[in-house]
């Protein structure tokens, strides 16, 4: 099992080439001197300079970041609660409906979610703006958070919680002192997932945003419809860089946290 057969090596190489070459080309051509994106005319960073001076993009980026921070935080709280209820809550009235509402948004086409939320906001007379985008993003990303967190909840040893309860913890204390530290890596990656889903979303934001709350994807989409441009390449490169750094940092942090946890567990076993 420990050697890689030629077939597997070839399929992995081709697969990862397919996944990464388009993005590498995009990054390379963001440093192109020429306005014509398909012809290389020498190295230049001028498109980044123009990007920084483009006030419309900066405004949109600021809206996007605010929406992402608020919606991912709300989604993490609601999604963790939902996961806890689904895995540990036992039976309650309407459980099937509840789990259905958790899984359905994962595959629901965005055009339907967007349209239905917009009609709701208009129905209750809520002005479209940052608030409505936050509500919309929270709704679909809490389901992703809940799936991530519940997959961690099902695998961890329930007797730890029971031990805490036996030793005199209230259920809330047991959750705060035992459950939460154990599921923390999943909660953090749930937050990150919700954050990037929100940063990314074009369709739902288009339906639920108002004229004064254009997000970055909406701005990019309207620019991209006119064709490929070096400025968008530069913007894409920056976004790829941010996400890459974020994801790698997060994975290193959670890996370290898990290693520490395992060491603690080992130490506890030895102490016995």
């Amino acid at each position: 099992m420990n050697r890689l057969s030629w077939f597997n090596a070839v399929s992995l190489t081709l697969g990862f080439a397919f996944l990464y070459i388009p993005m590498i080309i995009l990054i390379i051509f963001s440093f192109n001197e020429s306005k014509l994106v398909t012809v290389w005319a020498g190295f230049s960073t001028k498109w980044y300079g123009e990007l920084v001076q483009n006030q419309a993009f900066l405004d949109a980026a600021w809206v996007t970041v605010r929406v992402a921070v608020f919606s991912s935080t709300l989604a993490t709280i609601l999604g963790t609660a939902a996961a806890y209820v689904l895995v540990r809550g036992g039976r309650f009235f309407g459980r099937t409906l509840f789990s259905g509402m958790i899984y359905a948004p994962l595959v629901m086409p965005e055009v339907i979610t967007g349209l239905s939320l917009l009609l709701l906001f208009i129905g209750i007379g809520l002005d479209r703006g940052i608030l409505t985008i936050v509500l919309a993003h929270t709704t679909f990303s809490m389901c992703f958070v809940s799936v991530v967190v519940s997959s961690r909840l099902v695998t961890f040893d329930r007797s730890l919680e029971e031990a805490a309860l036996d030793l005199g913890c209230s259920p809330a204390q047991a959750f705060r002192l035992v459950t939460l530290p154990i599921i923390a890596p999943a909660v953090i990656s749930g937050w990150l997932l919700a954050f990037t889903l929100s940063l990314d979303d074009l369709v739902i934001a288009s339906f639920t945003s108002g004229p004064s709350s254009t997000t970055l994807p909406i701005k990019i989409f309207s620019a991209v419809r006119l064709g490929v441009s070096p400025e968008i390449n530069a913007l894409s490169t920056l976004m790829i860089a941010v996400v890459t750094v974020g994801v790698i940092t997060a994975s290193l942090v959670t890996k370290r946290a898990m290693m520490r946890q395992r060491q603690d567990e080992l130490a506890a076993v030895r102490a016995e």
Partner: protein, 296 residues
């Protein structure tokens, strides 16, 4: 008391912002007369041209749905969306399975890195990943440049703004959704089962087909649903890569809503799309629940 609160808050949130909106869509798709009077009149700039549309649609409740069956555009768009989704799901499986298989057979210490490499594009903006292909597939794009330079073709291929571009875009962007569930099914598999099959006289291919594939079936099913269901309603890929020749229902709904400003018809399109998706969504949920229970 605490437990009730813990259940109630996410429950009520989803009821109010996920379930109730569907009923509003349903209502508006049926009763467009109410759209003209407050509180449903959306914005003021709709008032022009609205009276005409209203007069046309207010005769019958199901008028919007009758309209969907009368105009070729809609059912053709539904059919072509389903067709594109089925073909591209199959293509994604063909491309994704060997990658997932290679990952599951890779040395154990490589696997976290390989996982990371699959997940990373998934975290990167969907829009940017689709956009990247516009530069590659266009007539003056990088693919044509390479093919012309190597002499494989003598005139540039037209790929951008055709259905082929849509297939490439879908396979590319949805690949992680296929790889991850298939990989997690394959990784769990006991390698000695293959050895047993080979010891008992199976060829390598037979062992793969009779042992590995059936054992990875839950992953294949989950992956196929995760790709197929959202693709049926896909908007970004057909509108950036598909050109005017590619008809997909997500794009029709978008244009009905934003360009034609015909909200009742857009709602009817959404309701019918949802009806098409109900069966696969329920099957997907069943599959997920079964998996979760099996894990527990």
């Amino acid at each position: 008391m605490r437990r009730a609160l813990l259940i109630a808050v996410p429950y009520v949130w989803l009821l109010a912002l996920f379930l109730v909106p569907f009923f509003i869509v349903l209502k508006i798709s049926l009763s467009d007369t109410e759209l003209a009077i407050p509180p449903y009149t959306p914005t003021l700039d709709l008032s022009q041209g609205w009276a005409g549309i209203k007069g046309f649609f207010s005769q019958l409740d199901f008028e919007n749905y009758v309209w969907l069956t009368e105009d070729d555009l809609y059912w053709k768009a539904y059919l072509s969306s389903v067709k594109i989704a089925l073909i591209s799901t199959f293509l994604t499986l063909i491309v994704g399975y060997p990658i997932a298989y290679g990952m599951a057979r890779a040395p154990e210490e490589w696997r976290p890195t390989l996982m990371m490499l699959v997940i990373l594009p998934f975290w990167t903006s969907f829009l940017i990943r689709v956009y990247a292909w516009m530069g590659i597939l266009s007539n003056e794009g990088y693919l044509n440049q390479i093919l012309l330079w190597t002499g494989i073709i003598s005139t540039p291929l037209t790929i951008l703004n055709t259905q082929s571009a849509v297939y490439i875009g879908i396979v590319y962007t949805y690949l992680p959704f296929m790889i991850l569930p298939v990989y997690s099914a394959l990784e769990r598999m006991d390698g000695s089962l293959i050895e047993a099959a080979e010891d008992l006289g199976c060829s390598r291919f037979q062992a793969f087909w009779l042992v590995t594939v059936p054992l990875s079936k839950p992953g294949i099913i989950a992956g196929c649903f995760l790709v197929m269901i959202p693709v049926i309603g896909e908007f970004v890929i057909p509108s950036l890569l598909g050109g005017s020749g590619t008809l997909m229902i997500g794009k029709v709904l978008w244009e009905e809503f934003f360009s034609n400003r015909d909200w009742p018809v857009a709602s009817a399109v959404a309701v019918v799309l949802l009806l098409i998706l109900v069966i696969p969504i329920v099957l997907f949920q069943r599959n997920q629940q079964k998996q979760t229970e099996a894990d527990q």
